[in-house]
């Protein structure tokens, strides 16, 4: 089951789809005046071991993602207040905080659903339409993974690697974004995102970002990616 809600005016083009074989996770809603909230992980903190440690998952979710949620809510409240007063200067000055923290919230919300333990399909190769599209665009799944890993490993500083869907060209594309810029600013629809901020892997992989990017394919939830792909094409 895909649950998708149209987001409020700040991220009006962003759809977040959640699906899981366990209890459904509530879709995140950015209705104009509703506060953002931290979504639950669709699995236990230790479920992705040994690929991603429980320690990393816990800090990543409870500290980093939570901070983006909290700081987005603070910025959004100030923004709405300034908007109500017609204080455009303040509205503009808050754009940075909204982008950083809102982007962080959007990106991580997608990320948790892009991963799954092997018992829930993590690492199982895609099939059907998505598989055809990957082979058509990149040659093979392995070729796609190699290219994605290489491009994402080369991100300078903090950022994300993405598999996105180009609606205009009707094809898949690999892209990277700096910091917490959401993929939507490139015009692509996010399908699969891999976080390469050092906090995503450092406690376990240290400086070996390429090792993290090689291992993570074992827990990529291709069923979720396929659902996002189907939604993006429709």
């Amino acid at each position: 089951m895909i649950a998708a809600r149209t987001i409020g005016k700040v991220f009006s083009q962003q759809h977040i789809a959640f699906a899981g074989r366990r209890a459904p996770v509530d879709a995140v809603s950015f209705a104009t005046k509703a506060a953002a909230s931290l979504p639950d992980l669709p699995y236990d903190y230790g479920a992705l071991e040994p690929i991603i440690s429980a320690e990393i998952m816990k800090i990543h979710h409870q500290k980093h993602h939570q901070a983006y949620v909290n700081n987005f809510n603070i910025a959004q409240e100030k923004y709405l207040d300034a908007e109500a007063k017609g204080d455009i200067s303040t509205m503009v000055s808050l754009q940075g905080a909204i982008k950083f923290n809102g982007g962080g919230h959007v990106n991580h919300s997608i990320f948790w659903t892009n991963l799954a333990p092997p018992t829930c399909g993590g690492g199982e190769a895609p099939t059907g339409d998505l598989s055809h599209a990957i082979n058509s665009e990149f040659g093979s799944l392995q070729a796609f993974q190699d290219k994605f890993s290489a491009v994402t490993a080369a991100v300078q500083g903090s950022g994300w690697g993405w598999l996105g869907y180009d609606k205009a060209a009707k094809k898949l594309a690999i892209a990277t974004c700096a910091n917490q810029d959401p993929l939507s600013i490139t015009g692509l629809v996010p399908l699969l995102g891999i976080d390469v901020w050092e906090h995503a892997y450092y406690l376990q992989y240290k400086n070996m970002r390429p090792d993290y990017l090689k291992a993570i394919w074992k827990v990529v939830n291709w069923r979720n990616v396929a659902e996002r792909y189907a939604a993006a094409k429709s």
């Binding site: 980093h64 500083g157 450092y202 406690l203 240290k206 400086n207």
Partner: protein
């Protein structure tokens, strides 16, 4: 070399000496020299953090200030400069475990990468600072590595065992004059460090007659401007994650209270 620190000045000496090796080939006694320290000084061995110079500097419990070697020689390759303190000397505030990765892997990788990128290019034969300035905005691969070598070397010198406290004399006066009080300076410096989104650095710099706090993204560095850096703190996550995890504010507090090397800042301020 513009550094006033034992660490990079020694590296400068390495570079200068290694390039005169050809002229030393006719002196067998030179190669017969058994002293490890001398061989390292002459650039015949890769520099590590555990060499005798670093231990000597650490034993003095202060950064050893050594005048840079005479320049104007062709550089063969860049060395990883030695840490200006023992690996364990900053504990418990900055662990030797972190230094194993931060210095031994990250900083080393920038040196290794730059040495692969420079030969046969316009950057060959230039000093590190020259390469940083020449490549800025033009050659991202060279810039990212060269600037990060510079930034990290500057960062090690910005810390010392039993650091923290306050500067004295002209630098303290200037800080108070600029920021209102030393406490206000710390607050503003911490704010810059904590609000540098993603990876980057926070700096105290001198620009003409003023002091400023600046923050830079990723590899960016104030030496591409007219500013003279005084101290820096690394806020890439790899700099603090093993010891502080997500708690960047705690890390920056500890840097200011227990690690910052005001002697180094004062020497840079006096330039």
């Amino acid at each position: 070399m513009a550094f006033v620190s034992g660490a990079v000045a020694v590296a400068g000496s390495h570079i200068a000496s290694s390039s005169t090796a050809a002229s030393c080939a006719s002196h067998p006694a030179f190669f017969a020299q058994k002293s490890v320290a001398f061989r390292e000084y002459a650039g015949f061995k890769p520099v590590t953090s555990f060499n005798r110079v670093a231990k000597f500097a650490a034993s003095r419990n202060a950064v050893k200030f050594v005048a840079p070697a005479t320049p104007a020689v062709t550089r063969c390759a860049f060395d990883l400069p030695p840490l200006p303190f023992e690996k364990t000397a900053l504990e418990p505030y900055y662990s030797s475990n972190t230094l194993d990765f931060h210095y031994g892997k990250h900083h080393q990788a920038y040196v290794t990468n730059l040495n692969k990128l420079v030969p046969g290019t316009e950057f060959e034969g230039k000093s590190l600072e020259e390469i940083v300035k020449l490549s800025a905005g033009k050659n991202p691969a060279v810039f990212n590595n060269a600037a990060q070598i510079y930034n990290h070397t500057f960062f090690w010198s910005s810390m010392k065992p039993n650091g923290g406290g306050q500067p004295t004399g002209a630098l303290l006066d200037k800080i108070v004059q600029t920021f209102g009080s030393f406490e206000n300076f710390k607050t503003e410096f911490k704010t810059a460090a904590v609000t540098q989104f993603g990876s980057g650095w926070a700096w105290l710099v001198k620009e003409k007659d003023s002091l400023k706090i600046v923050k830079t993204l990723n590899a960016e560095t104030p030496i591409t401007t007219a500013a003279v850096p005084l101290i820096t703190v690394d806020v890439w996550e790899h700099a603090y994650y093993l010891d502080y995890q997500n708690r960047r504010p705690d890390y920056v507090d500890t840097f200011l209270n227990n690690l910052v090397n005001w002697d180094f800042a004062a020497a840079n301020f006096a330039k």
